[in-house]
């Protein structure tokens, strides 16, 4: 049982701290401070401490944080102590790129299945050892392989239907690359990755800069 409702931005930052600590570890540094991490990330030291304080006391006053220990704690908090089986839903260019992104495996995410409607793609390998399946087999394959996370890269007009099927298949979370805002039961988690919206934030900013001088 977690004590409090954790702010969404805090969760994102915890993942960023974890990445930061991993880098420190690789550099051979074994002690750090909220200030050091904050400076590396361009935020305030009190923000770092506040974020961590939701989950416990991980540092030593006057000393700082043990990199290994804090890193392990964050790994635990973020649910990364186990490996996660993921499925790629929609094996187009984007699905292919994500499935083959080395960062997935490095972070404990294992692509164990992929799906597509395109008959021509069925049977091909999306990554070595993982063949692309028909949507009709989705439910059974998700169950058999205890897949909890779906990475959704289907065309926008199919996204809600596919999401419904995923929920029925017992998936627990969806990383949604489609532009649709999905309706799912409240016990299912969805994270949206919407780079066209990000691109338009960018043009807004660029256009604003030019307007303002």
């Amino acid at each position: 049982m977690r004590p409090l409702k954790i702010p969404k931005p805090t969760v994102k930052r915890l993942a960023i701290y974890y990445r930061c600590l991993t880098k420190l570890k690789e550099t051979g540094i074994d002690r750090t401070s909220s200030k050091e991490m904050a400076d590396a990330l361009g935020i305030k030291a009190s923000q770092v401490r506040k974020d961590l304080s939701y989950f416990g006391e991980f540092g030593k006053r006057g000393v700082g944080y043990d990199v290994d220990k804090l890193s392990y704690k964050l790994k635990e908090i973020l649910g990364l102590k186990k490996n996660w089986n993921v499925a790629i839903i929609g094996s187009g260019n984007l699905g292919y790129a994500i499935a083959n992104y080395s960062g997935l495996e490095k972070n404990g995410f294992k692509v164990v299945a992929a799906f597509d409607i395109d008959e021509k793609k069925i049977g091909r390998m999306i990554i070595p050892g993982v063949t692309i399946n028909k949507f009709s087999e989705m439910s059974s394959i998700i169950n058999e392989n205890s897949i909890e996370i779906a990475i959704l890269t289907v065309p926008a007009h199919e996204s809600q239907n596919v999401a419904d099927a995923l929920v029925k298949s017992g998936i627990k979370g969806i990383l949604n690359f489609t532009p649709s805002s999905l309706s799912v039961p409240e016990n299912i988690s969805v994270e949206d990755v919407d780079f066209v919206i990000s691109l338009k934030s960018l043009t807004f900013e660029i256009a604003s800069f030019n307007d303002n001088e």
Copy 2:
């Protein structure tokens, strides 16, 4: 000259409203209301009106909004009246997938150049008509083609170097798919798209659900 500092979340939502209006237009609907849009997006009507109010008065009291007119206004606000030339920096799987994503052209973004270090890729086409170039040609090609936006999909350890080169080449904004937080001059805009962080937010949520019952 814009009157106020616009909240970041507001800008993102403006882009979402614009997408919503585009969909309404396609459906043949020509009038809407803050409530209708809000319900479609799962937010509050007052949020929609507040967001729009930063930029002017676009509706009619008692009536609502003209879809065409509001859509055009948002297009203008977001800087989308012109087409943007973009370059793909790093022509791996992800760069390839993004370059070939139909949503780019549909939204007024034109991929006019691509780059990579890998000698084997130089000269190949990333999309029909656009060949992959060496990094050494980046500066001149960006200038000659008046490219203002770079989509950065290089490996993490090269990202800052490449970003520096992009800034020197006169780029105005970077859509950053790498996990590095880039240092750029304050007149350069950066938007981060970090799906591994999103994936870890997802595992946090899933793990929390299971812990809490």
